[in-house]
Amino acid sequence: MTEMIKLFVNGEEVEVESGKNLIDALEKVGIEIPHFCYHPALGADGNCRMCLVGIEEGRPPVVPACKTPAKEGMKVLLDADHIKKIQHDVMELEFINHPTDCPICDQAGECKLQDYYMKYEGTESRMRVPQVKKRKVQDFGGGVIHDQERCVACGRCVRFLRQITKTGELGLVNRGDDCRVEFFPGRPINNRYGLNVVDLCPVGALTSADFRFKQRAWFLKRAESICHGCSKGCNIMVDHNKEKYEDDIIYRIRPRHNEQVNGWFMCDAGRMTYKSENDNRLEECTLAGTVRPLTDILADAQSRIEKASKALFLVSPSASLEQLVAVQALAEKTGAAVSAFSDGYIVKDDGDDFLIKDDKAANRTGVDLLSIAKSRTHFDNMAKEADVFINFDNDLSRSLSEEQIGKLFKDTWVLNAATHPGHLGTAMAGKAGASVALRSWSEYHGVVVNCDGIAQKFVGGVMKNIERPDIVEIAAGLGSPATGAAAAWALVQKKIPALAEFGSFLELPAEGVNLTDNEAGK
């Protein structure tokens, strides 16, 4: 526990954590101090002057909250007249050259200038001279579009690229009212975290070319999820929306703050994973080449598993713990083998020491925790023995070539449950078997364990028009003892005692549960 100190805000006593600056300390207890340039991840810069607060009986009497540590007995003034005037004047200054193009600005709805205007200023502009014209649509590279006129010169983007990615593409050039963010000619943003500057930008100066004009922020529904792009498990916010008469699609993915996993950021590749959630999805369930209802396929598969001398289930290392456990329980019941063979998910030397990892599977630690075999030899041996093979959304085409897959399952009856086509390569396309279209991670709930052994819950909020089953449902349909999400979670708790205290996965804390000390470490 951090030490608590007492201070006074507007005369009222407040207890806050020590060792933090005023903005952070007071934000924890729900008191907002307006600020543009300060960001917890980037530290104080003190250039926007919006966070100026009064200190009663102190020297100096007015200080920037971002640079002032909270001290015992401090008397902070937030609603004094002179503070209000400062906030009002700073806002007025920001608006001198700010174009009022909120109608076409993607930031509208989540823009600090808009919010603070409504809260702290709210007056008409007094400027009667023409505004300084700057460049409007400027491609910053890396999918970032810049609008110089909207910039408030807070420098968050500049500091992010210098402090966090250490690439320093952007700089604040010129001075005075001509000040603007620019990259040095010929050296645009070129790193794998560049789109974070879009989130950092408190106004609409930096927008994502990918999200640009696609949807207004206030229409988007938010789902707190975990990125399935790699084993880091960055916490994300899935912004999706169902337009009238259309399908529920994801418009963008934003990082969500989690100090022990990803901090405030995520990589660009992770942001783009939403595209595969929207497009090119498997839509139909087929049996021997014809479209059939799911129940028929499951009944057929179940009878085949019962008759089979050996069945092999291949699970995906990105599946949630519940799904893994459901398949595992099914295998225990039917005497089938389970493999999580997924060597192809590991992309050598792709990772870095920040957020991107080599392993592109979201839940490999979970696979290990449940002691599911994942070696090539085990998989090969089992595949040779098995006459029924069920693939639960493992993209085998990453690990093996088409010929290899075709050779392995030459005489095997194959049920391919997958989110996307092509998981078994095109070699399997003509083969008489069954395929089931699955829900993807943005559509179901669950728990995954990241590379550091942190178990994190994710909530899928996307509701597609085409109803697809979850792996847990399929396993239940094939006779798994895990008949539903709750039963699967109970099994997970049996296998991973560290999670036993949580009645349902929703009770997991937002920052995740670190399993390294007890479970993952053994």
Partner: protein
């Protein structure tokens, strides 16, 4: 200014009123009077004999929507989605895209209004920051044989002309 509230005495408390029947007969007397008068001579009905007698549509009448254009024929709309946000019937569907003619950066790629769902509240007109949508065409009757045809697209709305001059329209706004 305080709202002008007219206080009405509450009715129904007297014994005569509690015996429903008297009041019912009074009411029936009124309806019978109207019935007999109109039965005797139906030339006094408060009816407009539409469609033979056409109504006179005032300028602030909310008719069918149109999208306004700049003088060069490009749409004024910047696809800010304000109308869609405000639409209580949820009948406006916009898709936005880049604009290349240099007026702004954004313009609608498609702008669809489902007239079958529109309730003609005029909120879209009020919400529009660019004065790009108006309901001043004076067209008040439109039908179709299926739902799809009731969806009007951007081109159609752009090609519609206002039914009034600018002065008449502005005056109509004041009258409203």
């Amino acid at each position: 200014m305080a709202a002008k509230v007219k206080q009405l005495p509450s009715r129904g408390g007297t014994p005569a009123e509690k015996v429903y029947l008297i009041e019912i007969f009074k009411g029936m007397g009124i309806t019978l009077r109207h019935f007999l008068r109109n039965l005797w001579d139906n030339s006094n009905l408060y009816v407009r004999h539409y469609p033979e007698v056409q109504p006179n549509i005032p300028a602030h009448w909310r008719g069918r929507h149109r999208l306004l254009t700049h003088s060069d024929g490009t749409p004024k709309c910047v696809a800010c989605f304000m109308c869609q946000t405000n639409c209580p019937a949820n009948c406006i569907m916009i898709k936005a895209g880049e604009r290349t003619d240099g007026i702004t950066e954004k313009m609608p790629v498609s702008f669809t209004i489902d007239l079958a769902e529109c309730i003609y509240c005029g909120y879209c007109v009020e919400a529009c920051p660019e004065d790009a949508i108006r309901m001043d065409t004076g067209i008040y009757a439109f039908t179709s044989s299926n739902r799809e045809e009731m969806k009007i697209e951007m081109d159609e709305m752009l090609s519609l002309k206002g039914g009034y001059t600018e002065e008449e329209y502005q005056k109509g706004l004041e009258d409203e």
